[in-house]
Amino acid sequence: MKPIVPKKNEPIRIGYYICHCGTNIAGMVDVEAVAKYVATLPNVAISRNYKYMCSDPGQELIQQDIREHRLNRIVVEACSPLLHELTFRKATEAAGLNPFYVQMVNTREHNSWVHTDRTEATRKAMALARAAIQRVPHHKPLEVKKVPVNPNVLIVGGGIAGIHAALTLANAGKMVYLVDKEATIGGHMAMFDKTFPTLDCAMCVLSPKMAAVGSHPNIHLWTYSEVAKVDGYVGNFNITVRRKPRYILEDLCTGCQECVDACVFKEPKFPDKFNLGLGKRKPVFLPFAQAIPPVVMIDPEVCLNFKRGKNPDGTHTVSDKCKKTCVQACGDRKAIDFKQTEEFKNITVGTIIMATGFQIFDAKRTPFYGYGVYPNVYNALEIERIINASGPTEGELIMRNGQRPKKVAIVHCVGSRDENTNRWCSRVCCLYSLKLAHLIKEHTNAEVYNFYIDMRTPGKSMEEFYNRIAEEGMHLIRGKVADVYPDPNNGATGRLVVQAEDTLTNKILKIPVDMVVLGVGLEPQPDSENLRRQFNLSCSSEGWFLERHPKLAPVNTFTDGIFLAGCCQGPKDIPDSVAQAGAAASEAFALIDKGHVEQEPNTAYILADECSGCKSCIPLCPYTAITFDEERKKAIINEALCKGCGTCVAACPSGSIVQNLFEDEEIFSEIDGVLAPVPV
């Protein structure tokens, strides 16, 4: 198709189209009246209403009109431009007209969906239409800028989502930087015992993937590391990663753990984070048996060599006051380095995948359940560790008092679906609570009571799983637990009473139990706010990272080139996290494979003849895109650096800066347009 280049002084011929969007728009806006009104406006050659403008016939309608009526401007009044602007630009371009002659009017999201009075909505649709009709004559033909995409990918977070995304991309031949703030990858999944609904062992399916990450030639794995700085834009992000000191040289450590055996602490003494403090470790330790990388680390807070050299300001100097039996044990491998300091790595990547996961709800925030007060109240993750064969009790379900429970209550929805804590459903708690019920029964043959608000088991094979567990003889009680308190008859033994109203029989139940398990919900990571700022993302009001579109762009973000995977976007189970990670990886891959991104040509430029050389724009630019030509005494904008915010344009006292797509005349004519009188 030969591009239609409008001749100078050629009269403006606008094609106007208002979409019914089924009844989404036409149900609230009198689309015919709007089209009739627009037909009376200057420069309008064609004014139509049509059922679905975004459909193929809708787009063809525009293309045909462009040819037949020699249209040179297009206005589509339909949904948000963030949704379909590209569709109509493409359609217009295919008909040979420059795509930037198109203007969209958002009459669905901003009008028909939010108003209830048909006259008001019709009036608004007319006003918005008029603004666009007055705007488009000022539009200029523009060209999209192409920016190359660096093929490397940064993945933040090494839980199952990050691992899956990393392997997908690395197997496709892309270089991946996988950064995790913990000393090992694996995330929460590594802490689980079995997974629902199949009841297969979590580590058995996870550890081969972890090992594959550790040995993959295309993956740079940086654990115990954090992203310190993010600069740049899609295609070219400059990232600084802070690698915290673990006092072990990763390349030299073989993971033999002879240093752990040789440590002057003969017995493990310090709370072990991986086992949630239920087990003990030494100052030098491997986070857990299958940790990747299989490298030990030293905790300077408790290692004698550091501790004895602790400075008043909290820093450590190597004291030489410990026998350093670990160093002797390490011998020629020389992997221990007490002088290690944090290290900064600079990398350039084209795309980023956020897979930073979740944290569990802190049950201390619901004090009536007694978590942290009564030793026999546990959260679900603690039970995962206790029940796990490599956990602190080697898989024996033993309580803090050394006994095995005979009666166990599992409380669903702790910190979920609750006005006072978190309002959302965490999606996995009903299912993992059923799973724990099964495992507890299997391990101890205890009586298990599950207290639920509603039993929520959506997803493939989940309802069947629920039925299976129910048939195993669990007590399933529909009722929210109101209180957990020490058994007045059996106080000294640590027995507890769980009080709830059974909403099916309307009876208040008081059930004495030995152990209470709290089915805690999922929450955004505590540092998600910082990450959000750092990566320029948006968060939902709950704090989960916001996807670009809840249905149509669930792994994209509002920042081009950054994608979401796993629970950082919202609670989900393992299969969904993996599916989303695959989707995020393929979105990244699609960008890399294409090799370039197209950028909105909304950059600013200077009309040199008009620039008075006052320099007021120069300090305003956050990208230092504006420089000053001392010889000519004029400001110059480097188009490659300009991101198109328009701040300098608004500040220029002589009006000599122009922003493409948002020129002053364009905005002024929109202002006049929305305020012009309309006939209804």
Binding site: S80, P81, L82, N106, R108, E109, H110, N111, W113, V114, H115, T116, D117, E120, A121, R123, K124, A127, L128, A131, R533, N536, S538, C539, S540, S541, L546, P550, F558, T559, N602, L620, P622, K643, G644, C645, G646, T647, V649, A650, A651, Q659, F662, D664, I667, F668, E670, I671, D672, V674, L675
Partner: protein, 188 residues
């Protein structure tokens, strides 16, 4: 939610008109979210999309008021969240200056409002537009275009008056003896 209406002197119902400048990344998206979530609100605002609140030229606001808006709303990302680092701070400074300026011009400062609304705050879009509609309804029409017409007419009368005097006495001003300077109205 219905519109705030108030009968005007001419007997027709008057309802305030708000021109809203929303930044593409946060507030415009929030308004889209309000739509997707069907959060019903007053139909008085007309949104103009800009890439950043930093693009809001004070002249846009003056123009909107001069062309008949009863109020102007600016929506941008929260502090530290601007897609372009700090455009919203630039906007804030201009807003504060403008607020003083319009007050000096005899326009109630409440007619100009700046709000930080993130992409997730559809609810806030609804609330702010409803509140502002309410406030403007209380304040009544600003009616700058009509005022401009009135001032024009006054100027004409004045000019006629002066011309008549000139014809009678041969000089308009006893001291300078020259013609009166024509005053340009703001919207000319």
């Amino acid at each position: 939610m219905t519109n705030q209406t108030k009968p005007s002197a001419s007997g027709e119902t008057w309802t305030p008109r708000i021109v809203a400048f929303f930044c593409n990344w946060c507030t415009y998206t929030a308004a889209d979210l309000a739509g997707v979530s069907r959060m019903k609100h007053a139909a008085n605002a007309r949104v103009i999309r800009l890439m950043c609140s930093g693009r809001v030229d004070p002249q846009f606001i003056v123009e909107a008021l001069a062309k008949g808006a009863d109020g102007v709303l600016i929506g941008g990302c929260h502090p530290n969240d601007c897609h372009y680092v700090e455009g919203n701070y630039k906007c804030l400074r201009r807003y504060q200056m403008l607020k003083r300026m319009i007050a000096d011009m005899g326009i109630e400062p409440e007619r100009l409002r700046l709000e930080w609304i993130s992409a997730a705050e559809g609810e806030k879009v609804k609330r702010v537009i409803n509140e502002m509609t309410e406030t403007l309804t209380q304040l009544g029409p600003l009616g700058l275009p009509q005022k401009f017409d009135e001032w024009d007419r006054e100027m004409e009368h004045f000019a006629e008056h002066v011309a008549a005097r000139e014809a009678a006495t041969g000089s308009a001003c006893p001291e300078h003896g020259g013609k009166p300077q024509t005053l340009e109205t703001a919207h000319a």
